[in-house]
Assembly symmetry: D2
């Protein structure tokens, strides 16, 4: 995004921005080419010299990502100029051994999985931290009465800990989805020009080399896994944005039950204590659902390689990782050091008829914490 | 019903339309109330007479769904008038035992899961039929050369069977997702007014009575499972629409490699053989992704019951089931009896340099069929 | 929608549901066929007897919309069975004069414009009523101090009248868009089978007969106007939903500055006063943006008639009209009789440093009211 | 910049990337601050020295956009650090005159309009070039028979010129929308902290200084104009993507009626001539509709400044401009030098019964060209 320097930092994290950066994509594509050569060398398909030459050449620092991006316009694929550059780099003799059996989509799809693994790992860590923060609030405020609010009206009491326990549940659930995807669904792609490559030994070796799963079939024309990943990322952002919304509402001046530790300031009103991180998490979620929509829509692609849908996946998935990380990170920052005003919470309960009997809420907290502990121990 | 009679039949199936109909929703809500009374009776929380009265009254035929819908406007919930009508039906004495411990959302969310189970079951059956059709084509045309096409250009040969095997993979993958959801994620909801109900014995009994899972925690404010379901439905529609797009492209007059068994006719051009079902499946998918977007966006709801997001889930999920069924059913009809012109496929291969060496494609077919058989045996 | 009876009434109005109903679509399609025959008769292209026969037969009551909908599945078009039924109805001699020069898309697209005109007219009236309510609040509360809130924090004072004036501006703006569309963009479609019909005299006559504009060119393959209409409808729903959100926030128990005249009740908590209409308007808006997305996406259709995109327009536009009407109507009901607590508004202003100096706000009210009066006088 | 260097160039143009870049946003925000000081000086509200100091300091080169972006995270607004930096730059004495009467949103919203003007100007020029290319094809191929295709089946003949004339109409229509928006709707924003600033003389002067319109009311809480702009941009991208889809279909190996002048190459299949630009335009359109959805959804913001929705507008609109430019530019490049095979077009007409009688098509071309000429003369 051109607005990456100005608006970007609010909507992502530096770690994620790096993990899905152009440079990271380039590195992942080169890693694929190097791994392919490596396993082909091991199987005697290309010479040891070719392997050595290719592996040495697959150094991201040798390539100009900006130039590659501009050259990509001509073929609607960054792999075309990349392979050309790589062939040039290895010299005329080794050139035919570069990118052997592979097609553009093999490179990009496999790189997408490598990028995704790194992106998921960042999210898993950030979600663990966010879950810890939720668990912490849930335990500390297990018995702190707060008005339960339905349809934006005070209903009956719950506890702030129970609210946090439900947040925790949403975060853990999202995390399970991403962890499951990472475990089962990150598969190498090696289908060749039209997805008919069936050399399962080579695919298996390549998968192992890249630490990816071996797919049942080449998946260049069956995009389920990309759509699933998109859904899980949007769900992750949604679980975070739900917390952000609740906190923004609780932090309203008239409610005043929480204050974020590092409120945002105003350019014109010095007294304001804006829940800046909540706002950013919500904006990130709005962007996340939009990108997920692109990726769901991209499932219906033409024949053996889609003419538009596939190409929309690359920036959409990249951006989706970025804003999902932003939603999670801002929500984590928002909860960290959150000032909870238990007195105010009790005062807001209002009329006598909603006198706090919060045993059920506390029991739910215990249950949630039990699940959390068990899950984190694994 | 606006557009349901005129445009609806093209975009859904009668089975699914019935499974997610207003009447089905009503029946599911009443089933929840009856089950709740039953288990509460079993636990001695309400009297046997009350149970009998409530169960007898929970007969959908006794209620006017149109009237309920209009009365629902006043409270943004059909449960408010439904519970009032149910209380009236059981008489003054039993009335207090109706809907005990429950809130509107418990009724609707649990009903949503019951509706979803029925909807998923229809889809699982239709997907099995669609998978069978794909497998059939894959096997029959395991060695039938066809041009592999990338970016809408003829690339290198594959086999028509391999195309069908990839379709099969997409369908099986979608089916796995739905089957897994049905197995693990269809959970009862019983949280009470603000989601603090923790009577796990009652929840467990109710879950068993409704043949739903017992959730870790009440999920009224953690909508992950609804969003997941939405994603899986959209992915299912997408896997079907991918096939529909391929067939529509293969059926083009200039390509003419397939003709659908029951082509659509034109109001002005008698010679036309329109791939009507493919068109309908594609339209259904466009609608499906939109509804999935609503459901992903609905994750960020306010506090213990959302003020708008939750209410958007009901029609969105209903419509999503409908159009997903439409996408699958039309694709199945499209493939059933599909006329495959192997001679034309070979002729279209074009230049000599893409002479068919389709061993890899055939091997992939074998692999896909193996997976299919194993999976269907389970 | 199958949920039309149960969930539908909350999300639309009876008027709009009727205006875009299956029956309305059928009537509009028949109106097109009758008008086409009429002008063709006038130009001597078909006989007077044929005209009389066709016009008499184009009576919606004679057709079974459910049957047509089911027959439509075979051809992905309700026009195919409709024309067949119409030809049958007029008898063998007149049959060839039915649907002359026209194609399915001419019928549906022109009917879409007729439907849209009726739908827009309902919205223009409802928007005028909503604007009146906003203007009324703006004037009455021109000088009633209320906290201006930014980022969900109390900022500096404004007046409640100024809030209403900004709402008014959003509504008027949306109304201008729809009125402009109604005036300039509702065009007949008569392009024949592949959109090459250029008989501008016939098109002009037909346009006049149907009180639609004559388009520059047949628009079957240039869907700008449908996408524009979709955008305007979503914007209309958005302008209403913005008001609904503000009212829902002001009606929060802790803010308590407004109470809706007819609050919704709870199935479990008698003390609650839920802003039911605000909730419904917000749900309707979420659905509206999704349908608008379908219609924007449908612009990219194949050649002279799209294979999926066009077909998705019919239910999407129908639903979009419905939910837009729902968003507007619920917002209007919400504002009608809204109880405004000026004392509470002042109390909520909080700290002394935001003492009300609300002259600017009052001046904006005057400006908005001036614009409103001038605009409504036209 | 994630994906901006690698995938970005395919999806935008260098001109547009610059026009909506971080630097452009920074310059626009500074231009607002300088203009505000200038008009306030002219009205005697701040001293001449203050004006001179502020204007001199509003030099984008003096600011570090990366640092501002990172500092923006803390307050969810880049204006907070920008104003702080600007105040520091002008020195203690002039500092209080900086950003007087304004709030963050005034700066960003006005800057958004300045950015949008530049973005629209680029699009208007590119659309004029694209219209010229369409008009050129329409005239040259006014009488070149080609199969009209409906539902992806050959229907009846039209002319290739008529296809191009319809493309032209879509492009002109989109261009009218953008031109009208540029003329009427690009309005300055100066509402102060809560949108109550009513100093219409100052607003009028500021509007003139920035060459923007004076809005009826401050529009910080009525986002119609942003949503409208989003819709028009998506419609523009859609009009281009429709052409791209048609060309991609005509360029299919089996149809072969056109070949793009600069086909893309494959990393594995030297014989391929991929319609790379068409593919890129289609991908750009998919991304455009998603961003438009974000901007439509952002209409429903909280009170006087939204807590998430507004913040999502900045990156969404920026990206929408970028991908719309990409869709238009790639489509233009695709049509430029397009090789049209009239012989093949005639051969593809197929069966005798669709012998070309293309007078209507030619007449439509004449009409379209007449409109085009008249419009471009203005």
């Amino acid at each position: 995004l051109p607005s990456d320097r100005l608006f970007g930092p609010s909507l992502t994290t530096d770690d994620m921005a790096a993990a899905v950066s152009d440079t990271a994509w380039l590195a992942a594509m080169l890693r694929f080419e190097a791994a392919l050569a490596t396993v082909q060398g091991r199987q005697g398909l290309i010479s040891g010299d070719a392997v050595a030459g290719i592996v040495a050449a697959c150094n991201p620092a040798r390539f100009d990502v900006t130039a590659l991006g501009h050259e990509a316009v001509a073929s609607a694929s960054p792999v075309v100029p990349l392979v050309a550059a790589l062939r040039k780099a290895v010299g005329q003799e080794v050139a035919p051994s570069v990118h052997r059996d592979a097609t553009s989509q093999d490179v990009i799809d496999s790189a997408m999985m490598l990028i995704s693994r790194d992106g998921i790992d960042i999210l898993l860590a950030d979600l663990a931290a966010l879950a810890a923060e939720c668990a912490n609030l849930a335990e500390r405020h297990r018995d702190t009465p707060i008005a339960g609010r339905t349809l934006l009206q005070i209903a009956l009491p719950t506890t702030f800990g129970c609210k946090a326990a439900i947040w925790l549940e949403g975060i853990l659930d999202a995390r399970r989805g991403l962890a499951g995807f990472r475990r089962d669904r990150l598969a190498v792609q090696l289908g060749g020009p039209v997805g008919t490559f069936s050399g399962s030994e080579l695919v298996a070796d390549l998968a192992q080399e890249l630490d990816l799963a071996q797919p049942d079939l080449p998946w260049q024309a069956a995009r389920n896994r990309v759509a699933e990943l998109a859904a899980m990322l949007a769900i992750t952002a949604g679980a975070a944005a739900k917390i952000a919304l609740d906190v923004a509402l609780l932090a309203q001046s008239e409610v005043a039950e929480v204050v974020v530790a590092a409120p945002g300031h105003s350019s014109s009103m010095p007294h304001k204590r804006n829940p800046a991180q909540a706002i950013e998490a919500r904006a990130a979620f709005a962007l996340a659902t939009a990108q997920a929509g692109v990726l769901l829509g991209a499932m219906a692609g033409e024949h053996e390689r889609a003419a538009g849908a596939w190409q929309s996946e690359w920036p959409a998935l990249t951006e989706l990782f970025r804003v999902t990380a932003g939603a999670v990170a801002r929500t984590l920052e928002m909860l960290t050091g959150l000032q909870v005003d238990a007195v105010r919470m009790r005062a807001n309960l209002g009329p006598a008829q909603i006198a706090p009997d919060t045993g059920g809420a506390a029991a739910l907290v215990d249950r949630a914490i039990g699940i959390y502990r068990k899950e984190m121990d694994q």
